[in-house]
Symmetry: D2
Subunit: 350 residues, 4 copies
């Protein structure tokens, strides 16, 4: 879709909402979602939050009621220097910065010496990290992906105004609210009886429908939808088996599934257990849908719809326990300028 065309469409959509949609949206308990178009740039010109604006006290309370058993599933994958990562990001190192032995030898801080009272030898560890804001279990912020020759992201924030030296200055990760919402895991690999989907497999709408039917659960407006390919089962201790992970990491949803989830079902956020959610390489028609792109589903969700993406969410224990519906609770770190929550541990509470 051309940029101009999209804007017209969005403008039309806004008008539609203003005049006609409220009834339907309220039916679904939604503020702005409209079946058939989803969201878009519908939250005003200053908005940096997107579809997560739909959360309310009522929706959070309803989500938390799903956690009546008090079981907590940690969806995070542990990260270290050897972990699998996308080549467009920087490598990472965790370095022991201060060590008990180093503090003792260095004697650079007077309060650590026995002479000044530290006769019990209190010392500490701390680590310096050189790390990407996009590794292991992530939530992509709305500023992560830009599109168009004008390098705009969600809500028309543009690089020539809002890309700074210390990260982005609009829709950075600190604008992602704490996410407390109904979560639904769609176990596509499980429904197909596979350990993990094969390389380059496109998850279709039919796949999602079949899995949901088998699970007897549905995606309703405002749900965080988690799509399982099975890739995370090969992560192990630290994601060091790059070949095996890479083999399955290219499976994912195409544009049709993304649009169905957002426009027909009202998924407020979509996550998967791969590094990039979407099938790779993109289907030519999907690429053309956004005017030519190596990551069209990202453009569609993050830029055009304002829908956050979850990546490398570990659903293996959910799958083993056949847990398909839960309270999804996730917060990113509060680091200004960064564009994604990195090495996170979202929770599925049941």
């Amino acid at each position: 879709m051309k940029n101009t065309a999209r804007r017209l469409l969005l403008a039309a959509g806004i008008a539609a909402i203003a005049f006609a949609a409220p009834a339907a949206a309220q039916d679904a308990g939604m503020k702005r979602w409209k079946q058939g178009t989803g969201w878009g740039w519908v939250w005003g010109p200053e908005d940096e939050v997107g579809a997560l604006n739909e959360m309310t006290d009522a929706s959070r309370a309803a989500a938390l009621r799903l956690a009546a058993q008090g079981r907590a599933y940690d969806l995070g994958l542990p990260y270290d220097r050897n972990s699998y990562r996308w080549p467009g990001h920087n490598p990472g190192e965790i370095m022991t910065f201060r060590t008990p032995e180093g503090v003792a030898r260095q004697r650079d801080l007077p309060f650590t010496t026995a002479e000044q009272g530290n006769t019990g030898h209190t010392r500490w560890h701390s680590s310096a990290m050189f790390i990407s804001d996009n590794v292991a279990t992530q939530i992509d912020g709305l500023a992560h992906i830009t599109h168009g020759a004008d390098n705009h992201w969600y809500n028309n924030f543009r690089a020539d105004q809002w890309t700074g030296d210390f990260g982005v200055r609009k829709a950075d990760v600190t604008t992602i609210p704490p996410i407390v919402a109904r979560g639904v895991m769609i176990d596509v690999a499980g429904q197909k009886g596979m350990e993990a989907l094969p390389s380059n497999y496109e998850i279709t709408v039919a796949d999602l429908e079949a899995a949901l039917r088998a699970q007897n659960v549905d995606v309703t407006p405002g749900t965080v939808a988690l799509v399982r390919t099975g890739t995370a089962r090969f992560w192990g201790e630290n994601g060091s088996d790059h070949a095996k992970i890479g083999q399955h990491d290219t499976a994912g949803i195409g544009m049709a599934a993304a649009r169905w989830l957002v426009e027909q079902k009202g998924a407020m956020m979509i996550a998967s257990d791969t590094s990039g959610l979407e099938v790779l390489p993109p289907r030519p028609a999907d690429s053309q849908f956004v005017g030519g792109s190596f990551n069209p589903v990202h453009v569609y969700l993050l830029v055009n719809q304002g829908v956050h993406i979850g990546e490398f969410h570990n659903m293996e224990r959910l799958a083993a326990d056949r847990v398909y519906e839960f309270a999804y609770v996730a917060t990113t770190n509060a680091i200004r300028g960064t564009v994604a929550g990195t090495a996170l541990r979202p929770l599925a509470l049941r």
Copy 2:
């Protein structure tokens, strides 16, 4: 307390638990806590979790029932390069690593070029971070502080065995389970009618009791206790007013309050809104209690009791809304080797 003495005491404590305590502990719904001694190294020689082992499905379910209104309070303070931090940690930088403009100019990745199909100019932001594992809103892991000439930490893990080049190898942050527990905020500053406690103010047991009485709420075994000094109100956008923050940051609990919370009330974790929870400088008797230390409450809680510490937890909105009891939900990042959750956003769900 001498190390040997402490071990004897702990051994005695373990024996006591084994033979006599279960009844009382079970009364409080606790597995190992014993009124009068708290915890200690009571979870077996391989344990890296400490007091948080007390969490159960039942305790989490009970905690989550406190969130019936669905209100979410974000306790995190936003971090950037100018934020206040303890001088023992490294400074931080968030650097725009890949930028839309840079990707376009650099042309180092073929899939980003129009020739290879990216005619819609999809590009991205990512940030490289050089950051400490101990900044802004933190949860100190049990390996953070060491003590004794043998540089041991919780459960007798020692530096000469378990301090590695890539962080610690026992009780790192990945061993902190997702924390879902009853939280109680003890608003000491509020009870005293102060914006924030003055420099070097020691919060006493009487202060805690008075605040709890005024709030009509109690700390029960398994509670996460959050003690408010008011310091976080001066954090602002990014904690850049070092002088003002520093002025109040030295207020905190002393050993008496720490022991009362753990040994008498069963607080499973203690947090505050300062960089280090405890009053600075430490009272001489508190320092001597652990054999001489610049941070005796840290030694007592992390090393001796296995009780995690929360720092720079922002309770300003809780205080404004007079919310004193809630579900506390926090996860650290899953970064192997690191010793604290950094720049976190714990939640108080109400």
Copy 3:
């Protein structure tokens, strides 16, 4: 000077050289320098080297003949995490990355184990550095400073084309040739009988002339001119006395001295013992000379003339030994994209 005006002037300069200057320039052994205008963008549209193009085998051989005694003066100032630096650059950390103890404990590399033959316990230290390309003893590359609304640097390379994600892509530090040239130290502080020049002192042409006269040495075309303020004497072990260094660091040359050195004397590079060579704050007329700038001498030298700048060059031992003429030998690190040689040790060979 307006950008357009400067271009015309430069164009005029080039024309002048092409038709009339060769005789005079050759007289001085120079290829392109012209008394009265200096250099400029005279080396062709692809040039990234600037005035250092003047070096030849003959000029290097002549310079090295000044080192007949074989004495070597190290002009570098040692850098560590506490060193004084300009606030526009990132702080630095040197971190022990691999340590003998860590290698032994970590056992992550099989060849380090006794089982695989390392019975003699060979291990190693290496450090990871997080460092700026602009600290301690520096040589500013021609891409360091940009000017004009079009963000151009030397030879009209512009940010919108040549600033990449991994540093600059034109005139980075790898394009600075090894510098082997006649060096002359102009001891302004010494001539005035001062330990160091006072804050904000502007070094004038008269100051330079007086010092050179007292030293009985002259700046000739192709010389590297080192101007001594005395600031480096307060660097000590690691430049940690920021107040004392900062007090003198604002002394330096103004536009008149810079122009005299380049246009009248043919200095091929200018260095000093401060962080920024030029007097701060800049004189209003100097700022206006380049259209309004906080660093007009940098703009004049780096952008307009193609003359490299040396900073924090330690001349204390040269001054003590009254060594005023020598072979100046310096190489930067060969790190692509960086814009300055950092923590260097240039040599004065005598």
Copy 4:
């Protein structure tokens, strides 16, 4: 050789020097070198310099006289994020820290604004580097390699005393003096008529002798010996062809050649054009010579002899021009704690 045995031998060597060696050593213009044993820990218990202590004004002057033509050969290999490196070191990133566009957008420094006089739009580039102290063209400092269960390095400095949190505290890179010495390139690949030596090829004494004979030049006491394998010819722009470089990178000298160069010829420093100078894997007898080691020649040179090692020195242009004797001039960066000069540009002046 066992540690105790070596110490006795060294003690014997010191005695021998004290009573008998001076005549022979002075004959060669050396202070402490003794034919048959080389150096060792002969410079006193506080020494951090090693064999480079041999340099004098006279030796430097003599070396510089070799540069009569004034030709400068840059021996450095350019480094970037894609460069070949040893897996024991951290990866590197050069990041544009401040950019003209970012400075303009960020407006975080008042002096950069037009309101405060910067009407000419002066801005700047600087880079933040995350880099190893051991990449591209290096000089290994004497603290780089440790040996023995006590983790000692040159002159018996031990990790339990002198390894700090911010690098090593004895014999770091700042203790390496500026190196100005006679250099001799030994073109083993050239003498054999090969582009580059094959994988795992051990350069023998006979190889060195044959090449020196063909070149009609000799290694004399105090010489920096550069041994050419031809590997650097595959470095290209940035050392990104890891497979091709790796194929030749394992060729190098064994213990016999190392000992011959140091003990018989008096080479004061030995360099090559590979990442590690010595043949890999080490010959079993070489490994046993130091009690079992994956890097026995490093142990012999750095730890036992106090002889610095040069790595990835690019000799391709020297070879093309058949330049075998020259003044070798190299300085490392002055960064406290680091153990090697990194991404250097040593010079061969002719």
